[in-house]
Amino acid sequence: MKKSVILGAMTFAGLAAGAASAGTLDDVKARGKLNCGVTTGLVGFAAPNANGEWEGFDVAVCRAVAAAVLGDSNAVEFVPTTGKTRFTALASGEIDMLARNTTWTFSRDVDLKFEFVGVNYYDGQGFMVPKELGVSSAKELDGATVCIQTGTTTELNLADFFRSNNISYEPVPIETNAEAQQQYLAGACDVYTTDASGLAATRATFDDPAGHVILPEIISKEPLGPLVRHGDHEWGDVVRWSLMALIAAEELGITSANLGEMAAGTENPEINRLLGSEGTLGEMLGLSADWAKNAIASQGNYGEIFAKNIGEDTPVGLARGLNAQWTEGGLLYAPPFR
């Protein structure tokens, strides 16, 4: 018994230590494939389509990184993770990066030793209830049964919200979004709470989306973004700037339609530096000169990715809101490429 404890613990520790020391960028290049952690299935963010190919808003980030590093947006191995398994998967080196609508918090960044490379969706926690309950505010939820994905920040926000409003509730802890959806629809809980974007995405898959309302209260700040292991800064830079390239591309007006034309050289030096026709940004990252071009070519710029996966014309139907470019009153602000 005692021996197996130590052996097991040692394996764990050995993995953790081994993963932290090696250069992830070199590993990915040598492997020819990026291991990217995503959700187990949340339509619009990450879910396999009818052909079994992963697609969605978070998936696009994985594909962009793969395109930047390997030049091939399909060279990604998607690893579905639950709210509980995601951090272990990343810490142990099973995945190279995690793009799984994960909230950037102090303790995850500092205590769990991860590096959030940026924010790809500014979100907040909301509540969804069936319309027939006639509830119009979260403060009317006294005594309700609430379905919640366990191991998430929403679990803690929920406890804080109900405690500070002095109302009671009964939590039903659930592992995945699919299970939560099933429980909610079966009426085993009155309310489903998660990030508002997740609620919209979940509602989009219902038979009767109009029969459910998302309550106006947004009870928390949930900046969602991709993250990597702490300590491997070269790799962190690659993931960070791949994301920033997508955001900057929208700001600079680079779309998948005019990408080829722009890459040939323009009068705007920043576009030229970004797409590699001027300067050595790619080299500094340890990538080829056309890394950003490849990243943008994979799914288009940030705005295109948003519109295609979760925008107002999709079943998920999210407005840009906080996620508009800073020039349009949003929070998206990519640092300069120079």
Binding site: M1, K3, V5, I6, L7, A9, M10, F12, A13, G14, A16, A17, A20, G83, K84, F87, T88, S107, R108, D111, L112, K113, E132, L133, L141, D142, G143, A144, T145, T150, G151, E155, L156, L158, A159, D160, F162, R163, Y169, E170, P171, V172, P173, I174, E175, Q183, A186, G187, A188, C189, D190
Partner: protein, 410 residues
């Protein structure tokens, strides 16, 4: 007369450790022990160094911090401001509760199915064979999920109890079967002798203990009487009185009343709620392990030689008494040891609780606490310690019982 001389005293030489059969095995064992100790030391040292290098130092101080999350089934006072240690305690009690309930019902199911499988009635014995084969050959996790899914899908939600033309109604106006659990009336005392409810229930338990002693004394008295006079006095009424009178008196004095569940807001309130996850887990563990116990019981009964049954019948005992007085006492010797491991399996399998959102210790300490604090190694070590202690305790208790029923060799 020959003289015996002692063999020359050669003293101890180092080569004897290998060449002398008296020492050789000892030598090898010592070497093996040293190598093993070195391996363990190396691995342990490696673990500590790697943990330090990764910036993870083992510390249990997080147990005192506020947990920040709520738990739906609490046997002790707990809220989101309580510590992680308290959350672990809530989970621990939930684990013990479901394990205790499941051990009892699994034994009942197992004994019934095991005895019936040996029935002479073809239909009954085949039905039991089907039960055993189906339930023990499908993983228990699947049973837990099936039962839970059926419960949530089939039973009505609390909403359907509302309004004038409700589609669901309470049974006898006191039991509500909903897809969130079963609500049953809760007994409580209007003018309890003690202020705290727990003390009042302890008093009731003490009353039962007294009744048990009294009933035992009545039996002893009847036995003595039977041995001296040959006639056994009628004891049924007396024993019944010994059980009922103190109980009823206590209930009357303390003013037993029932609190009925009623629909209030989103949910039923009042009464006792037996949550859906608890029911699903309890029932699944019971029928699954019950199938294994049924086989143990059957094996135990068949291990008693047929001659015993025939001899007992020849003495004029009725079939029921043959079973109770002759077969079962002997069968228990074969049944108990594997029964212990079945009880241990129930306790360990209860860690599948998270599949249906039951807040056992694996879900609280090994799930949410581990996740929110990131203290994986500490939490897992604590979990191992808990399951080990629980299993060894169950083993110990059952071994004591086994010792009391096993063949006494004189």
């Amino acid at each position: 007369m020959s003289t015996l001389t002692d063999p020359p005293n050669e003293g101890f030489r180092l080569s004897m450790l290998i060449n002398d059969t008296r020492y050789r095995s000892l030598t090898f064992q010592v070497i093996a022990a040293i190598v093993l100790a070195l391996c363990i030391w190396y691995l342990g040292n490696n673990l500590i160094q790697n943990l330090r290098a990764a910036g993870l130092n083992i510390s249990y101080t997080f147990l005192g911090d506020p947990s920040g999350y709520d738990i739906n089934q609490r046997l002790v006072e707990y809220d989101s401001q309580s510590s992680h240690a308290k959350a672990a305690l809530v989970g621990l009690l939930n684990t013990l509760l479901v394990a205790f309930l499941a051990c009892i019902t699994a034994t009942v199911f197992g004994v019934i199915a095991g005895v019936l499988r040996l029935s002479n009635n073809w239909l009954v014995s085949k039905l039991m064979a089907v039960y055993v084969e189906i339930f023990r050959n499908i993983p228990v996790l699947i049973w837990i999920i099936i039962i839970f899914t059926i419960m949530t899908a089939v039973l009505p939600g609390p909403r359907e109890f509302r309004g004038d033309n409700a589609t669901a109604s309470m049974v006898f106006d006191s039991f509500a079967f909903t897809n969130r659990g079963i609500y049953i009336p809760m007994p409580w005392f209007e003018n309890g002798i003690f202020a705290s409810t727990a003390m009042n229930w302890l008093l009731v338990l003490a009353g039962f203990a007294g009744s048990w002693i009294a009933a035992h004394q009545i039996n002893v008295w009847a036995n003595t009487k039977q041995e001296s006079t040959g006639v056994r006095p009628k004891t049924t009424a007396l024993i019944l009185a010994a059980w009922l009178v103190p109980f009823l008196a206590l209930m009357l004095i303390m003013g037993l009343t029932w609190e009925y569940p009623e629909l209030k807001g989103f949910n039923f309130s009042g009464g006792i709620k037996v949550g859906g996850p608890l029911i699903a887990l309890w029932f699944a563990l019971s029928i699954y392990t019950g199938a294994f116990i049924a086989e143990n019981v059957r094996a135990g009964i068949q291990a008693v030689s047929k001659g015993q049954t025939e001899a007992a019948s020849a003495l004029g005992l009725r079939p029921r008494r043959v079973m109770n007085l002759v077969v079962l006492p002997q069968a228990l010797r074969v049944i108990i040891p594997p029964l212990i491991s079945n009880f241990l399996n129930i306790t360990k399998n209860s860690s599948l609780a998270i599949a249906v959102g039951y807040a056992d210790i694996t879900a609280t300490l090994g799930g949410i606490t581990l996740n929110q604090t990131g203290r994986a190694i500490e939490c897992v070590l604590l979990l191992m310690l808990f399951y080990l202690t629980a299993s060894l305790t169950i083993s110990m208790v059952m071994n004591v019982y086994n010792a009391s029923v096993k063949l006494k060799e004189r």
